[in-house]
């Protein structure tokens, strides 16, 4: 298992380098630069070149990339050009909020999704199954910013249960978590259901029935356990996805977080901040995948064997 884990972690290095090149290039090839956001009306014409030089933006791109990567490897994310603060500070302030939101949303969609999938599988092709699957399907394609506004209208403006926006206490987390969580629930529920139905038709389940175990016990202890393997993989993959998906939701609910930081920095072309935020999101996807693989390997010895 340890050997597998080490090998899997080493595979992340080239991926990380490739991702860093892509992030850097995409950003610098976008038209516009941060200096336009710094120059005030009345600033003398020469100031532009002066500022380009001060932030090293006049150097060739490969040199800029090398400098950035070099600092990155020593843990220095640089200083924001427009925001004027160490990027690590900005990220440090934003990340806990994003993790709390993403984590709770993931938890919500796992619990509710698995529960719904389980119930649907038990009632296969009956009314309850159709109702659940139809319901989650309706919820999944809604754009999250729109769903967020609808939830605010219903639960904050009409019913007054939760605050409209902000991040002052736990109650302000409810609506954003629901907004992100509902989208993921559909996927988890469907995979749980399909996988359970698949496992339920296996021979070993037939044997368990023949041995006279109670059907609920078989479903819970044996079928669900096997059925969860693909579900866990999907959930791990979604760790990064959920952090990225929170971007618009954070803006709608006026919550601090990576998303709000990223959008503001993108509008101002604040390169160091955008690079660091995107890198965080990319790392979340990479670590999520890694975590999923390790978890799968831990559950299923066949996976470990395949790479060995």
């Amino acid at each position: 298992m340890l050997a597998y884990a080490i090998r899997r972690i080493f595979m992340l290095v080239p991926v990380f380098l490739a991702v860093s090149v892509i992030i850097f290039l995409i950003l610098h090839l976008l038209p516009g630069d941060p200096i336009d956001n710094l120059l005030k009306v009345g600033a003398p014409v020469e100031q532009r070149a002066e500022m380009m030089a001060r932030y090293g933006l006049d150097r060739p791109l490969p040199v800029q990339y090398a400098i950035w990567l070099g600092k990155l490897l020593t843990g220095d994310l640089g200083t924001a050009i427009v925001a004027r603060r160490p990027v690590a500070d900005l990220i440090g302030q934003a990340l806990p909020h994003s993790l709390a939101l993403g984590g709770l949303a993931l938890l919500f969609s796992s619990i509710v999704g698995i529960l719904l999938g389980f119930v649907a599988a038990l009632n296969r092709d009956r009314f309850l199954d159709r109702a659940i699957m139809g319901g989650v399907l309706l919820g999944s394609p809604l754009p999250s910013f729109w769903l967020g506004l609808l939830l605010i209208l219903a639960f904050s403006v009409q019913l007054g249960w939760f605050p409209v926006s902000g991040a002052r206490n736990w109650s302000s987390l409810v609506l954003p978590v629901l907004t992100i969580g509902l989208g993921g629930t559909a996927l988890v529920a469907r995979i749980t259901r399909v996988s359970m139905i698949d496992i339920a038709s296996r021979d070993f389940v037939m044997l368990l029935h023949a041995k006279g175990l109670s059907p609920l016990r078989i479903q819970l202890r044996h079928v669900l356990r096997h059925a969860l393997i693909p579900v866990v993989t999907i959930l791990a993959l979604r760790i990064g996805w959920i952090l990225g998906g929170a971007v618009t939701v954070e803006v709608v609910f006026a919550r601090p977080g990576l998303g709000t930081l990223l959008i503001k920095a993108l509008n101002q072309h604040d390169y160091p901040v955008v690079q660091a935020s995107l890198l965080m999101l990319a790392m979340a996807v990479m670590l999520g995948t890694l975590f999923g693989d390790l978890l799968q390997a831990a559950i299923d010895p066949r996976v470990r064997g395949a790479l060995a």
């Binding site: 014409v45 925001a83 900005l90 302030q93 403006v157 109650s171």
Partner: protein, 527 residues
């Protein structure tokens, strides 16, 4: 027995839950929650020397030497009075006595000297560049010896970048000044600040030096002011509607009718500082011909746009400047207004004859131009109306939309013909910024580079000894630029502030260009 205890516990939990939920609104006495305008969201520090963008809290934490009224005239603040030498080569400022910073340090002439020295490190240092030497005459008098006359000095001293910082703590705190701690002389002190989320300010009880434009001579009436940052307009509106906040400092036009429809909400309208206009690239065919430029400019029906696109809220624009500026008060013959007959006549004269489809053509070439705009929905709508109005005189234009953050780079290519854009500024030097011959592409989207204009520009920017002269010189520059039609003025929006009138009482008369320290000093919270 057991179930009864359980029930009790549940009931108690329910009550505390309800209390927690009810507590989120701003319901405590003399406390208010404002939402700052969306364009100020994300300001990372309250350090006026280092920052590149500052939000409204800056104006509450710090005072300035000079304050400005709604009509943009200058009034005392921390400077009680000032004298300018006739040749413009020196200024004397008499400072208010007894002013103290939040950390107890005194404010005096020495403070000004140290602060202006520190300000030289700012990227906005050009604002005080003309000050060659600061002489401390006595505790309450300071003299600026100038290297060249700077008639714009009062305007600069009223800018939030020239908010007066406390030099000692500024040096001690370094980068933390403005983030973790900040000391000014303003009516509020910083309690907490979370970037992009909220700033909590508490009243400075010693405050007794408000600008004379405010009625209140003592400390502010609001004891605790929370300034929240909400990037999404719909969310901010729902917060106001549900009573979660008391005031929105910037309300987009789309929400005005919604707010007016609510019984407890009110809209305060202030003159805006924006001008929407259509730059015309003077270096691109067919606009190299001044007749075609004038025709395009006079095809824009400002009144129709004001009524149909903006529901009559705001003002038409007939010059390049906001109408509150004295430099906008120019000879009527230079003002650009809708005149379709003149437009048609000019195009006929220039050889562009109307074809069967209503589009003009010359030598078999149709009068087809590009019309650039940015992706925000308000710009799209305005641009579509402009397109229709151009078509009415026979100019066929094709709209190209660019992302708002990328369009400046597109302008630098110089390929634009017509565009629809807007700016936000309240000083005549904006003409220099957008039409100066050394800033072609962006900001000079019109690619306007005219020797006579450059001459007038130099005179306006650096050749004026005092304010009156500066106004005259800028008027002449403004008039000449308009006479060359490098753009068509369209619209001047107003600034709309939405508030809950069951919670806040605003002063009857507003004496400030925007809601800032002067106005907030007089705002009362209903108990």
């Amino acid at each position: 027995m057991k179930s009864l205890a359980l029930r009790k516990a549940l009931a108690a939990a329910g009550i505390s839950l309800a209390a927690l939920l009810a507590n989120h609104g701003a319901s405590l006495a003399q406390e208010a929650v404002f939402v700052i305008a969306t364009n100020e969201v994300g300001a990372p520090t309250y350090n006026p020397i280092k920052a590149s963008n500052l939000n409204i809290a800056t104006t509450l934490l710090f005072d300035r030497l000079v304050s400005q009224d709604t009509d943009l005239s200058f009034h005392p603040w921390l400077a009680e009075s000032w004298e300018e030498a006739p040749d413009g080569m020196s200024w004397i400022f008499h400072l208010k006595k007894g002013v103290k910073f939040h950390n107890g340090e005194p404010f005096n002439a020495e403070t000004i000297a140290k602060w202006l020295e520190l300000f030289k490190a700012s990227e906005n240092a050009y604002m005080t560049k003309a000050i060659a030497k600061v002489e401390v005459i006595d505790d309450a008098t300071v003299k600026f010896v100038m290297s060249n006359p700077e008639p714009n000095l009062l305007y600069n001293f009223s800018s939030s970048y020239l908010s007066i910082i406390e030099p000692k703590s500024f040096v001690e705190l370094g980068d933390n000044y403005g983030v973790t701690e900040v000391y000014g002389t303003g009516p509020f002190k910083l309690e907490s600040f979370v970037v992009g989320q909220e700033t909590v300010l508490v009243r400075n009880d010693d405050y007794a030096w408000a600008s004379p434009l405010a009625k209140n001579r003592g400390p502010a009436k609001i004891a605790k002011l929370t300034l929240r940052e909400i990037a999404e307009d719909s969310t901010a509106f729902l917060e106001l509607k549900s009573g979660g906040v008391d005031m929105l400092l910037g309300v987009p036009t789309d929400f005005l009718t919604e707010i007016k429809a609510q019984d407890n909400l009110e809209v305060l309208t202030l003159p805006g500082q924006d001008v929407a206009y259509m730059p015309i690239n003077v270096t691109k065919e067919p606009f190299t011909d001044i007749k075609v430029r004038e025709a395009a400019a006079k095809a824009i029906n400002q009144k129709e746009i004001l009524d149909s696109v903006y529901g009559g809220v705001g003002e038409v624009a007939n010059t390049f400047l906001i109408s509150a500026l004295p430099e906008a008060d120019i000879d009527a013959k230079y003002k650009i207004s809708y005149d379709p007959d003149r437009s048609n006549a000019l195009l006929d004269e220039a050889g562009w004859a109307k074809g069967a489809d209503g589009i003009r053509a010359k030598d078999g070439k149709p009068l087809k131009v590009s019309l650039w705009t940015q992706s925000d929905s308000s710009f799209r709508r305005l641009t579509e109306v402009v397109q229709a109005e151009l078509k009415a005189v026979g100019i066929d234009s094709e709209i190209t939309t660019f992302d708002s953050s990328a369009i400046r780079d597109q302008y630098k290519s110089g390929n634009q013909q017509l565009a629809v854009r807007s700016y936000n500024w309240d000083n005549a030097d904006i003409i220099d910024w957008f039409f100066g011959g050394d800033r072609l592409g962006y900001p000079n989207v019109s690619m306007f580079n005219d020797p006579k204009a450059e001459e007038l520009r130099a005179k306006a920017m650096t050749g004026s000894k005092n304010m009156a002269e500066r106004i005259q010189n800028f008027k002449a520059y403004h008039e000449y630029v308009l006479s060359q039609f490098p753009m068509a003025p369209i619209y001047q929006p107003v600034t709309s502030v939405g508030y809950n009138k069951d919670r806040l009482v605003l002063p009857a008369e507003i004496h400030a260009p925007s809601v800032g320290a002067t106005v907030i000093m007089d705002i009362e919270v209903k108990e």
